[in-house]
């Protein structure tokens, strides 16, 4: 198989403009004869569904939530990047492109990233026109702030609720199309398979989550906008329902899965408090603008803090190690996420951890409060401080916050070409569900940017090129391929319900999460990965013999929903480990202990690993085939990332 990324010819800055001119157009009278299926209604899905409907296509949109407005994009806090250079501080499309490629540790496609930076400016215009209430200055113009991994202020924000406001903007555009009849919305409906006819994606199988009805839907193209797979770790900042099922089923139908080992561990989350924990809560990275990260200099002092014999505020300045400021004087507390996370782990591994479990560091606002006053800090971060107080019972205005890294985002995803199409014709992946723009590490405030770029400004152009060549024929849902796919889904559900084992679904999910965190988490090595792989294989075998799924199919059954998702995580987890094993280098969020510089920084191997690892499914319990897409850097010089 040859992976053709379909990157247009020409200079970096001209590629997208030329491509938009070269793609085929669908005439307005024909657009209304096409049906596009959009799965997922977060930023990518809602923006795509609305924009395609505005163009005249008929859209069927699906989400498993009770309303499209509840997708997990809503929880993004900090902001959205755009190369507006409103602050006159030297930003440009090229700088955003450069920062993103560098931040991704040189494992992303230049052309995709440049396009992302290029359309970023239009996203802000679009959102403002929709009535998204971004933060403003007293003069009435938009405010910006800086964010990890950047030295310019290019992040637009709406207090700590940027994702919510952007999603509600996209949801309002979607709702307008629902009212116009161009989008048919299917809430509480989960996609359980992709249907291929003659090698092309032509429909999906869904389960109505209220009635259990298994149905199929036919369309001319299928867009998966279903988010990332961070919940493979059980504990993550993802929502409880976030899952990889749509992407994984597509993978099993032939779509390649790219760079599955690239997971982002976010440095500023509230530490785990006990075994009951169901999810982790992120504290926006924007806190690192004013908060200073530190641990006690000595293990003895840290021990006293852990035993609550000493309050952190009682520790003298000379006994504190502001390790990020010490090691990275030019970026300080604003180093990219992977660097911040790894350093927190290192501090705790060395015995400097500050909570009962020894897995937490301080994020301290004392100096910022002394400098700007408590009111100024409250105005900036009030809702985050309140949330922290609510969850932990501690007051962060008086004592430093305690934070620890947690799984947050997955850079890997379905392999797509420049048009966002997977290697399966007619099957697209947008937003976090694809792999394309963030390389091995995503910069803060870039997920919202990518989701909306894909949905508002990329897919409306690229999908026409495919549809124009496809023809208008519709495939009826009584076609044998549809019936076959429906039957497979029904069989699998019957199998899950028939096992009636001894352990419930959460047991397996938690066990999988522990394996992934311990052996394929912030730091990985060959021995651990091999052990983890073996453990997952055993756990998966046990799952299919001993899982207990209560209730029946023909009802709202959350136990069955979870079982379907966890069964897929149990396969995906193993592929993540295979990918982590195959990538004999460290880059971005993927840190192999065998490959580090003498100072403990990630050591890339550009000669042998400057490629996208795209995995092909070959059958149940069979090793997957690795395909490589070489990454070519014509514009950015590959260097050891330095934030010193």
């Amino acid at each position: 198989m040859i992976l053709d990324s379909k990157i247009p010819e020409g200079a970096l800055g001209d590629k997208w403009t030329k491509h938009k001119f070269n793609v085929k157009l669908v005439n307005p009278a024909n657009k209304r004869k096409y049906e596009v299926i959009v799965v997922g209604t977060g930023l990518a899905g809602a923006s795509a569904a609305a924009s395609l409907a505005e163009l005249g296509y008929n859209v069927k949109a699906f989400c498993f939530h009770d309303s499209p407005r509840r997708a997990h994009s809503i929880a993004a806090q900090g902001g959205i990047n755009a190369a507006k250079n409103y602050q006159n501080d030297g930003d440009s499309v090229y700088r955003l492109f450069y920062d993103t490629v560098k931040g991704g540790d040189y494992r992303a496609r230049e052309a995709n990233v440049f396009r992302l930076a290029e359309v970023s400016v239009k996203i802000i215009d679009q959102c403002v026109a929709q009535g998204v209430p971004f933060a403003r200055e007293y003069g009435g113009l938009l405010a910006n702030r800086s964010f990890g991994g950047a030295q310019v202020s290019r992040t637009f924000y709406a207090r700590g609720q940027t994702g919510q406001q952007l999603l509600l903007g996209a949801y309002s555009a979607l709702s307008r199309q629902v009212a116009s009849g161009k989008v048919k919305m299917y809430p509480r409906t989960e996609m359980l398979d992709v249907i291929k006819v003659d090698g092309k994606a032509r429909g999906i199988v869904t389960r109505n989550l209220i009635t259990g009805a298994i149905e199929s839907h036919s369309g001319h193209a299928v867009l998966l906008c279903t988010g990332g797979y961070g919940n493979v770790f059980f504990l993550s900042t993802n929502a409880m329902g976030s899952n990889a099922t749509a992407a994984w089923r597509a993978h099993k139908k032939g779509a390649l899965f790219a760079n599955p080992c690239y997971t982002q561990i976010h440095p500023t989350c509230i530490p785990v408090s006990g075994d009951h924990q169901s999810k982790l809560t992120l504290m926006s990275e924007s806190l690192r603008n004013d908060g200073r990260v530190w641990v006690p200099k000595t293990n003895a002092l840290a021990e006293k803090v852990r035993k609550k014999e000493l309050k952190p505020s009682e520790i003298a300045e000379k006994d504190r190690d502001y390790y990020l400021e010490r090691k990275y004087p030019s970026f300080g507390n604003l180093v990219p996420r992977d660097v911040a996370s790894r350093n927190a782990k290192e501090a705790c591994d060395d015995g400097h951890g500050v909570n009962e479990t020894g897995e937490a560091v301080f994020l301290d606002f004392r100096d910022a409060i002394n400098r700007d006053g408590e009111d100024a800090i409250r105005a900036k971060y009030g809702n985050l401080f309140d949330m922290y107080a609510q969850i932990t019972g501690d007051n962060p205005y008086q004592q430093p916050m305690m934070i620890y890294p947690a799984v947050h985002y997955t850079m890997g995803g379905l392999w797509v070409d420049y048009n966002l199409m997977t290697n399966v014709e007619g099957l697209y992946a947008l937003g976090e569900a694809n792999f394309s723009d963030h390389g091995a590490n995503r910069l803060g405030a870039s997920a919202l940017m990518q989701g909306l770029a894909d949905g508002y400004f990329v897919i409306p152009y690229t999908i026409g090129n495919y549809l124009a060549g496809l023809g208008l024929d519709k495939i009826p849902t009584d076609h044998p391929e549809f019936k076959k796919a429906e039957q497979e889904v029904k069989d699998r559900i019957s199998k899950l319900l028939s096992i009636k084992g001894e352990k419930n679904v959460d047991f397996f999910h938690k066990a999988l999460g522990k394996i992934m965190w311990n052996y394929c988490g912030m730091a990985r090595n060959a021995e651990g990965l091999k052990k983890g792989k073996q453990m997952i294989a055993e756990l998966r075998a046990e799952f299919w013999q001993n899982v207990r799924v209560v209730g029946k199919n023909e009802e709202l059954n959350m136990s069955l929903e979870k079982a379907n998702r966890v069964a897929d995580f149990l396969e995906l987890g193993e592929l993540m480990i295979d990918d982590a094993l195959a990538r004999e280098e460290s880059c971005g969020g993927h840190f192999r202990e065998e490959h580090q510089t003498p100072e403990g920084e990630a050591l890339r191997d550009d000669e042998n690993f400057a490629f996208v690892a795209a995995w092909e499914y070959t059958g149940d319990n069979q090793p997957e085939n690795l395909h490589k897409e070489e990454l070519i850097f014509d514009n950015v010089k590959l260097t050891q990332r330095s934030y010193k």
Binding site: D125, C127, Q130, A158, S172, V178, M185, V550
Partner: protein, 250 residues
């Protein structure tokens, strides 16, 4: 902590439903309320019974999924938090906790604590947007908005559509929800073009869904996890009267 739970169980929309009593033990004060329910559901599943169904997703208080009456109050006893952000340290050992779904004709029960809030989506679809297509919009900074106006619009825009306002109201009125969206868009220049038709259409849809009229008791704002103020209802009424006074749809 050991607790007694009285929970509304209802198999589906057609079932009559009723309260059931359960015991949970060894609950940590650091657990969230929903994690406590996870413990109960683990117990039930290990006994071969189906767990209590409740909507939940982000567990960070922002998606608006969770929706339950706890001891007679939407989202429980604490001010300005959703059920998912409520922690067990707000309860005492040995306490009996009553848990019920939202009760409103416009929010029919789907199962146990899960209700159908599709009415909210239909109200937004009636006009809760600015009619702009993707592309072809002015540069973001060509629309300056005074900071105080932007902040007020933001306060209204923080609504998470959980439905606590409806559940708290004796009349099951949705005016806080509708007023929040109407206010956000009426305050901003982008939304002012369509302000009249928006107010008319959204309110007509609100009435068609079977939500009641405002009681003026302000229970909605008091229970709103995002503390949406009463002023959005006043603004909605003003928008509505102003629209009706010059409406083409008399």
């Amino acid at each position: 902590m050991n607790l007694t739970l009285k929970i509304w169980r209802q198999k589906d929309a057609n079932d009559k439903g009723g309260m059931q009593t359960y015991q949970v033990s060894d609950i940590s004060k650091d657990m969230s309320f929903l994690e406590m329910l996870d413990v109960l559901n683990d117990q039930l599943e290990m006994k071969g019974e189906e767990g209590v169904h409740f909507d939940h997703d982000c567990r960070e208080g922002i998606c608006g999924s969770c929706s339950m009456f706890i001891n007679g109050r939407p989202h429980g006893p604490k001010k300005a938090v959703t059920a998912c952000q409520l922690h067990m340290r707000s309860f005492t050992d040995g306490e009996t906790i009553t848990i019920e779904p939202w009760r409103a004709r416009a929010f029919p029960v789907v199962r146990d604590l899960v209700v159908d809030r599709g009415a909210f989506d239909r109200i937004i679809a009636a006009g809760g947007y600015v009619s702009v297509n993707t592309g072809g919009v002015p540069d973001a900074n060509e629309i300056p908005i005074p900071k105080d106006i932007a902040d007020e619009a933001f306060d209204a825009a923080t609504c998470i559509a959980c439905g606590a306002c409806v559940a708290a109201c004796k009349n099951a009125s949705a005016m806080l929800f509708v007023g929040a969206k109407i206010s956000q868009l009426a305050l901003l220049p982008q939304g002012s073009v369509e302000r009249k038709t928006r107010a008319e259409k959204m309110i007509a849809q609100m009435d068609a869904e079977g939500f009641g009229a405002c009681t003026n008791t302000a229970a909605c704002s008091a229970e709103c996890p995002k503390e949406i103020p009463q002023s959005v209802i006043a603004r909605m009424n003003r928008e509505y009267f102003s629209a009706k006074a010059s409406s083409k749809n008399v």
